[in-house]
Symmetry: D2
Subunit: 140 residues, 4 copies
C-alpha cells in the first residue's frame, strides 16, 4: 500500500535536499497510516496499553528529493511473529525509486515496558497485524 | 544571562537560513538552561507535579543566521506574578542583534491541568522564579 | 480557506501535546498550500528569483492538541501592499479554536536579498496576491 | 573522540523517549564536531565546492533516553578510501551503551553533483580524513 506525501519547505536543508533525518519521520507516518487505513489506529493501540517502539532502522539514499516533491511510500510488513515485526519502505517520486528503508519493532506493555507476545496477550491485535502482513508482504 | 549555541546543519533550509521555526526551540533551550544554571532544572519542576506551558510566543526576525554560526541568547524574565511569567530573548551573532522574541507562560498542576498560584502552592518554586526575575530583568 | 492536517506522532512531546514550535511549521504548510491551491506555487515563486521570508510571527496557544488530531487551519491574507503581507491563521479541532497565529512577510530579490515592490517588479505576482487577499480577507 | 550533548525537551515524544529520528541528527552533529575539532570544519569543506552527502544510515536502539539526559557519542571513521567513508557512532549515557549507528558517505563536486576522488581532486581534504581515520578507527 502506498502512502502519499508532499515535501514541506521546512524539511529541506541548505544543500536544497530533504534532510536525511526526515525519512525516518516519513516512515513513521506511513506506518501509522497503513494501520489506520486498515482499521486499527496507533492511538487505539496505545489506548489498549500497548507500545510498538522501534528497535532498529536503516535507510539507503538513492536519489535526493526536495521541496514540493510528491512522493509515494510503498509500505509492507515483511516479517511478523507476534513478538517482532519488520516494515519495509520504498519511496518513489515520478515512478523512480529514491529511497529504501526498513524498521524493526517489538511490542511492549506500556505500564511495565516489558515485551509482549501479541498472540497470547492481545489476540485481536495479533490477528490485525497477521492480516496486514499477509496483505502487504506479497503485494505486486 | 547568555545561552550559547552553535547552529546545526539540519536546522537550515534551502534558503540557506536557519528555518524560522527553530528559534522557538532555541528559546526553550535558553529557558531550560537559565533554570538549570540557577539551581532548579525543568525536569525537577516536572517531578514536583508542575508544568510550565507556553501561552504565547512572538518572534521578530532581523538578520538571518545559518549553519555553524555561534549565537548568544540574552534571556530575561521580564514579568513574574506567581501565576504568569514573561521571558524575553535577544539573539546576538558577533555582537549584532539578529532576532528578538518573547514567550508567556502559566503554571499548571500536571495531574489536573489546572492553573496554580506558585506563591501558595509551591512557595520554593515561587522564590526561585522571583529571584531569577530580579536577577535577570534589570541586567546590563 | 481551510488547510487540513493530521498531527504526527513525532510532533508530540513528553507533555503529550504537540510541541509549540510545530505550529510555525503548520502555518508555513498552510501558506504554501493556499498559494498552490490558488494557482501560484511557492516553488514557482522561487524559480522566478523571488523569496518571501518571514519578518515576524506570533502564536497564541488556547487549547492543546495531540497525536492523530485532525486540525483545520483557516488561513487568510489580512494585509497586502505589494511590499509587505500579513497572514492570519486560526486552527480548529472539532470546530473549536485551539490556536491563533499571524506572520508578516516581505518580498526579496533572491540574488541580491534586497526588498522588492511587487507591483513594479513582478506585476503578475502582485495581481495574484492582491486577488488572494481579496478572496480570503473577508471570508465568512 | 566523544561528542557531548544534552537532550532537549522538544526532542522527546509522548512516549517520553527521545524520538528515534533525532539520533540521525545527533550523528550529524557529532560528525560536524569531530571535523571542526580536528581542524577542518564542514562549512569550510562546502566553501571549497565539496559536499559529503549521506548514502546510508542505520541505527540500533538499545536503551531509551529522555529530556535532560547527558549523552556522549563516541565517533569514529571506520573506513575511508578517498571515495567513500563510513562513520560509526556509539551513544553512551552514564557509561552505558544506549544506541549504535553507522553512516556511509561519498564526496561530491557541489557544482556538478558528480562523485569526487579526494586523493586526486582535493589532496588536503584527503590527508585530513586519512589522519582522522587513523586517529579514531583504533581508539581505545
Amino acid at each position: 500500500m502506498r502512502y502519499l506525501r508532499t515535501i514541506n519547505y521546512y524539511e529541506t536543508d541548505r544543500m536544497n535536499f530533504v534532510h536525511h533525518s526526515n525519512y525516518i519521520r516519513y516512515f513513521e507516518e506511513a506506518r501509522v497510516w497503513i494501520m489506520e487505513t486498515n482499521g486499527l489506529g496507533y492511538a487505539a493501540v496505545e489506548a489498549m496499553g500497548l507500545m510498538i517502539p522501534v528497535l532498529s532502522v536503516n535507510v539507503k539514499y538513492i536519489r535526493h528529493i526536495t521541496f514540493n516533491d510528491k512522493i509515494e511510500i510503498d509500505t509492507r510488513i515483511t516479517k511478523f511473529t507476534g513478538v517482532k515485526m519488520t516494515v519495509e519502505y520504498n519511496v518513489y517520486k515520478d515512478g523512480e525509486l529514491t529511497t529504501q528503508g526498513e524498521s524493526t519493532h517489538c511490542f511492549l506493555e506500556k505500564s511495565t515496558l516489558s515485551p509482549v507476545n501479541l498472540k497470547r496477550a492481545y489476540p485481536d491485535v495479533y490477528t490485525f497485524f497477521q492480516k496486514l502482513y499477509e496483505l502487504t508482504s506479497n503485494e505486486e
